[in-house]
Symmetry: C2
Subunit: 405 residues, 2 copies
C-alpha cells in the first residue's frame, strides 16, 4: 500500500483545517512552540495558525505543554506533538525469527518482543503470530489496537512495496504474491506497509545513527547478501522494488568463478555469503556451518576462518567498489550475521574498496559496522510507517475523517 | 549553488502572498484554470486564492487567458502560466564544443547556437564565450538578460553541484575549483547552476522522452564512460557529486585485464570507451581514431569494427548488469558518440545484462538508444534551472523581492 493509497488520503474538505498537516510536520522535531512562533515560521496569519492548532489539539496529535513563556504580558501557551496519542506496530520477520516493537509517534520504543519462528511456516501461520503477539504488545505498551496509526512489516525477500506482496521470495515458500496487508487488516484497522528487510535495516540504521548523512548504503551479509540504498535521505527501492539485490552480481577479479545455485558463476553469494565461507572452511578441514559457525570460529581465533572472512570481505569490497563509483555514498554500513565476525570482514571490504575507487569518491567515505544490530529492521519498519502516516496529506486526511465521523 | 542558496530564498514577508509559489506549481502543467477551480484543487479559501493569483499576475509569471468559461452566469476568468515572461539560458560545454539554448519557463527552446571550442582553453576563455554568445542568444529570442530566471551549465567532468566548482576534472586543465557561478555573475544577474554533463543528459533525456518513468539510468559512451541516475524522478548526484562515475569500475569476467591510464587494470574505459575500441582495431590493422573513427568504420560495414563494438557493448553490459541489480531502473538509455554505432553496441549491452541480471529486475527493463542526442545536455541544464527557480519557495521569494524592490 503506497502513501497515496492510505485510507482517507483524498483532498480534505474545507472544514478540515487544510495545512494542519504541514504545521504538524514542524512540530515533529519535538520542540514546543507558541502560536506566534508558528505564525512567524510559516508566514501564515495568526488566525489561520490558531484554527490549525485547534484542529490538531482536537485530534489529540498535538497538546498544550507546561512552562508557558512570559513575554512581559500574559504568558503564551506552547504546543508540542503529543507523541503517545497514537502508536505504531513494527515487525521484522526473519528467516527463523520474528521481532516486534511498539513505538510512539516520535519513534520511541515503548515495548518489544521477539521469538523463534520459521518463515517457512507460511504467511497464514506467521501473520497469525504477528497479529496475536502484536495485539498483546500494543496492550503491554498501555494502548489498544484502536490507537494504531499504522503497522509496518519487513520480510526476508523481494517485496512489491506498492502492493505489499512478496515477489518470488527464494526462502519464503508459500508467500509469493500473498496479500500481506489484507491478511493483517483482519486484525488491525490501520494502514499496513510492507518492505524488504534490508531496505528497512538501511532506514533503521540511517534514522538511528546517520540521520545527518545524505547518502548511505547498508549491506547485509548473512545467508544471502543484499543492500538498502538511502539517497538524498530517502530509501531508493527501484522500479520493481528490487534495488540493492546484490547477491547474484558478478564479482570482478576472481581467480576462479565458483558456480552459484542460481545457475550463473562468480556470484557474490557464491563466494562471500555465510554458507559459501563455511563450505570453503569445511574443504580445509574445519567443521563449521553457516554464518554463525564462521563467526564462532573467528571468535575462537581460528586462523583459517579469519583468513576466509577477510577474503570474503575483499570479494564483497570488489562489488562495493562498483557501488561506490555508481552511488557515491558517504557511509557504507556492513551488517548481518557474518558481520559479527567483526573487523576482519570490514578490513577486507576496505582494502578492496579503497584500491578500486577513485579518490574523489572515497575521500569522505566511511565503512563501518552496523550499530543498530538485530533491531535495525523493526526500527526501520517504524520509521517507514511514521513517514507515511504523519506526512502532511495523511494528517490532513486523518483530521478530515475524524471531523466527518 | 543549491536551491537553498538561491538569492532571496529567505522566508517571504507577510505581504508576499505566501503560498503563491505552491499555486504556481499547479499551473506549470500549462492548463488554464479559474479561481474557483484553483480553490477546489487546493482546498484554499476563494479569497486566499484571489490574493495569490493577483500576486502572480503582478509578477508577470501568470496571465489571464482568453476563452472564459460561462457557467450560466457571468463568465469566469481563467489563468495560466505566462511561459515567456522570463527565460533560461542553458549551456552544454563539451570537450570540443559549446552548445547554448534559450528556453521559456515551460522548457520550450526559443533559440539555439553551437560552435567548436576546446574546453582546454580554460575557464576564463570558455566562460567569456558563454557570456557573449549567451547574451546574444537571449536577444535573438526576443529578450534581454534582465529577463533571465537562471543560467544552467553542464561541464565534461566532476562538479561539486553545491558550489558550482569543478573537482579535479581530468580533461579540463585549469578548471579545478574555478568558481563558475561567480565568473558568469559578472555578466548575468541570475542564479547560475552547474553540473556534470552526463547528469544533465540524464535529466534532459528523462524530461524529453521518459517523464513518466520513475527510475532511469543514462550511460554516455564516448572518450570516457559515465552515467546519470534518475531515481524516483530525481537526479541522484551522490554525496560529493560523483555518482555515476563508471569509467574506472572493474569489468567482471574479462579474459585479460587491460592496463588503464588511471594505474589500475580492467577498468571499463580501458576496454569499452571509444579510444580503447579504436586502439584494438588498430592492433588488428584497421586505421581508425577515437569514437568517431570507430563509428565511421561500423557504418562502412567493416566487420572487425562491428565485432569490436559488440564486444565493447558486452563489457559495458557486464558492468551495467551490476547497476541493474543495485538500482533496478526500468529504462537504460545509451548515449554518447560511440552509441552512434547503433544497434551493435546495444545488442552487446543487452546480451550481457539479460544474462547476468535476475528475472525480476529485467522483466520490465528497456535498453534503448538516446533519442535526444547531442541536445540532451542543454535541455537537461534548462530543466535543472527551471526546477530550482520555479520551486514554490523560490517563486515566493521572487514575489517578495519584487514587492520590496
Amino acid at each position: 500500500m503506497t502513501t497515496d493509497q492510505l485510507p482517507g488520503s483524498a483532498q480534505p474538505g474545507p472544514g478540515a483545517a487544510p495545512g494542519a498537516g504541514a504545521l504538524f510536520q514542524l512540530l515533529r522535531d519535538g520542540r514546543a512552540r507558541t502560536r506566534a512562533e508558528l505564525a512567524q515560521i510559516t508566514s501564515l496569519a495568526r488566525s489561520t495558525v490558531a484554527t490549525r492548532v485547534d484542529a490538531l489539539i482536537r485530534s489529540g496529535l498535538v497538546a498544550p505543554v507546561g512552562g508557558a513563556v512570559s513575554t512581559g504580558g500574559r504568558p503564551s501557551a506552547r504546543f508540542a506533538i503529543n507523541a503517545t496519542s497514537r502508536v505504531v506496530l513494527a515487525v521484522d520477520v526473519g528467516a527463523s525469527h520474528v521481532s516486534l516493537v511498539v513505538t510512539d509517534l516520535s519513534g520511541l520504543v515503548l515495548a518489544e518482543h521477539a521469538e523463534a519462528l520459521s518463515v517457512e511456516a507460511g504467511p497464514e501461520r506467521v501473520l497469525a503470530v504477528v497479529a496475536e503477539r502484536g495485539t498483546a504488545l500494543v496492550e503491554t505498551a498501555g494502548h489498544t489496537t484502536q490507537d494504531l496509526a499504522g503497522v509496518g512489516i519487513g520480510l526476508p525477500g523481494p517485496v512489491a512495496h506498492d502492493t505489499g506482496r512478496p515477489a518470488d521470495p527464494p526462502i519464503m515458500p508459500g508467500w509469493h504474491d500473498h496479500d500481506v496487508p489484507a491478511t493483517l487488516a483482519r486484525t488491525f484497522a490501520a494502514p499496513v506497509l510492507v518492505d524488504n528487510d534490508v531496505n528497512l535495516m538501511a532506514l533503521g540504521e540511517h534514522r538511528a545513527h546517520w540521520s545527518r548523512v545524505d547518502h548511505l548504503l547498508f549491506v547485509k551479509v548473512a545467508t544471502g547478501i543484499g543492500a538498502g540504498i538511502i539517497a538524498d535521505h530517502r530509501l531508493d527501492r527501484g522500479a520493481q522494488g528490487t534495488a540493492g539485490d546484490l547477491g547474484h552480481v558478478q564479482v570482478p577479479g576472481l581467480d576462479a568463478e565458483a558456480p552459484c545455485r542460481c545457475g550463473n558463476t562468480g556470484c557474490l553469494e557464491a563466494v562471500a555469503a555465510g554458507p559459501a565461507v563455511a563450505a570453503r572452511l569445511r574443504e580445509q578441514g574445519l567443521d563449521v556451518d553457516g554464518s554463525a559457525g564462521v563467526v564462532a570460529a573467528v571468535q575462537a581465533g581460528e586462523l583459517l576462518a579469519v583468513h576466509a572472512v577477510r577474503q570474503a570481505g575483499r570479494d564483497l569490497g570488489a562489488v562495493l567498489a562498483t557501488c561506490v563509483s555508481l552511488l557515491n555514498p558517504s557511509v557504507i554500513v556492513v551488517g548481518g550475521e557474518l558481520a559479527e565476525a567483526g573487523e576482519h570482514l570490514l578490513a577486507g571490504v576496505r582494502e578492496a574498496v579503497y584500491q578500486r575507487s577513485l579518490p574523489l569518491a572515497t575521500t569522505n567515505l566511511r565503512i563501518v559496522p552496523s550499530r543498530t544490530g538485530a533491531g535495525a529492521g523493526a526500527l526501520g519498519a517504524a520509521a517507514m510507517v511514521l513517514d507515511a502516516v504523519l506526512a502532511p496529506a495523511a494528517v490532513d486526511a486523518y483530521l478530515a475523517e475524524r471531523r466527518s465521523a
